[in-house]
């Protein structure tokens, strides 16, 4: 699984290093990522026009993907957080929609891995 994730741009070496070499714990936490992201209901908040909730959601995903070094998602959600802060919700939504296909691949890889 880790090799496939690496191929999708996840910096697994850095992530495992952050977990002080504990690859098992890193992998265990990685397996929770799909549920973590799903639970945030990010796109629903955008659809509802509840940008405060959208900010909390993107912010939370930014934190987790950062700690796991899921770099492409971390970059995209960081960008979305800044855009929401600058009162650019449409751009933020676009940023996330752009990353959704890759996000789905990464999550599928974790779920099936």
């Amino acid at each position: 699984m880790l090799d496939e994730l690496k191929a999708l741009g996840v910096n697994t070496d850095e992530g495992i290093k952050r977990f002080m070499g504990n690859a098992a714990l890193y992998e265990k936490m990685m397996r929770k990522l799909p549920e973590n992201i799903k639970a945030q209901n990010t796109m629903q908040h955008f659809a509802d026009g509840d940008y405060e909730a959208a900010l909390a959601a993107t912010h939370t995903i930014k934190g987790v993907t950062g700690n796991l070094s899921v770099t492409p998602l971390f970059d995209a959600y960081s960008e979305a957080v800044s855009q929401l802060r600058n009162n650019q919700p449409d751009q933020a939504r676009q940023t996330i929609e752009n990353i959704l296909p890759l996000e789905q691949k990464i999550l599928d890889c974790i779920i099936n891995g």
Binding site: R18, N36, H59, G63, G66, L68, V81
Partner: protein, 352 residues
Amino acid sequence: MSVKSDKSILIVDDMETNRALLAMGFTDLYNILEAENGKQAMEIINAHSDIGAVLLDLVMPVMNGIEMLKELNNTGKINHLPVFIITSENSEDTLSQAYSLGAVDVIYKPFNLNFIKSRITNIIELYRHRNELAEVVNEQVEKLSKINQSMIETLAALIEFRDCESGEHVKRICGLTRILLTSISENYPEYYLDKVEIEKIVNASILHDVGKISIPDSILNKPGRLTKEEFEIMKQHTVKGGEILEHIPNVMDKDSYNYCYDICRHHHERWDGRGYPDGLKGDEISIAAQIVALADVYDALTSPRCYKAPFDHQTALNMIYNGECGTFNPKVLDTLRRNEENVKYEHETSAE
């Protein structure tokens, strides 16, 4: 790696991944406590006394990090507990708000555990040291105040020992002084008396007659009227009291010393300037000395002496109101009138 501490670290983050990462970093050094939001965290803090630090996420459901910091401020816990903000937040407003609410440091996600471990461990030890020092200082202050008190009581016991007055005299003076001063503070705000001042004056009143140590037995315990010469020597107990205190200024705090000195020297002054030793007049005499003077007179009248039987309460009051024991401040006399029943009760109960 150092030995595991007896302290706990409380990790507050709604995401398990973030908690697990931090927990892993500190589990070899500290006990780990975890909470998913500020509310849970506050419950844990209230139930544990061993928490050395809080690692706090900002964006959380139920109660977020800023709300929790406010709560820690309201309860005063922030002063003893270092809180680290762990966040991917980079909004300056939020972070400066966190700092102004007492957060000690901000750690950004994603973080390098090895770095933040030393930062957090250092602060925990610093706070532990500071909290322990504060405890030691408090203990010392308490000890000093006890020594203060027992020094005053020791000196008072010495006078009692030599004097023909009963050992209860000092206690009654304290009781009367407290009753009268409390009433003064309620009716005459111009004297700026609060509870703390009143207790200091009450304590100082214990030593009003310390100068009697220096008066010869033949005069102090003479079973009859004093001659004019003897009375002049007797009057010296006020000045001598001040001199004795001047030799031991450091056994009590400055306020207590000032009250003791003033009361020793001036508790025989009178409102019309006809008292001694300095012939002070009116409010040149401190309210503390005026009140102890009245308490002293009342107690002397109502107590048996080698040379006289005690007067009853009402007779003593009448003698004071009639000016037979010198002139007092009208406000002080009004205060006595207002408190006749309390004064009588104090006199009767302490005589038992």
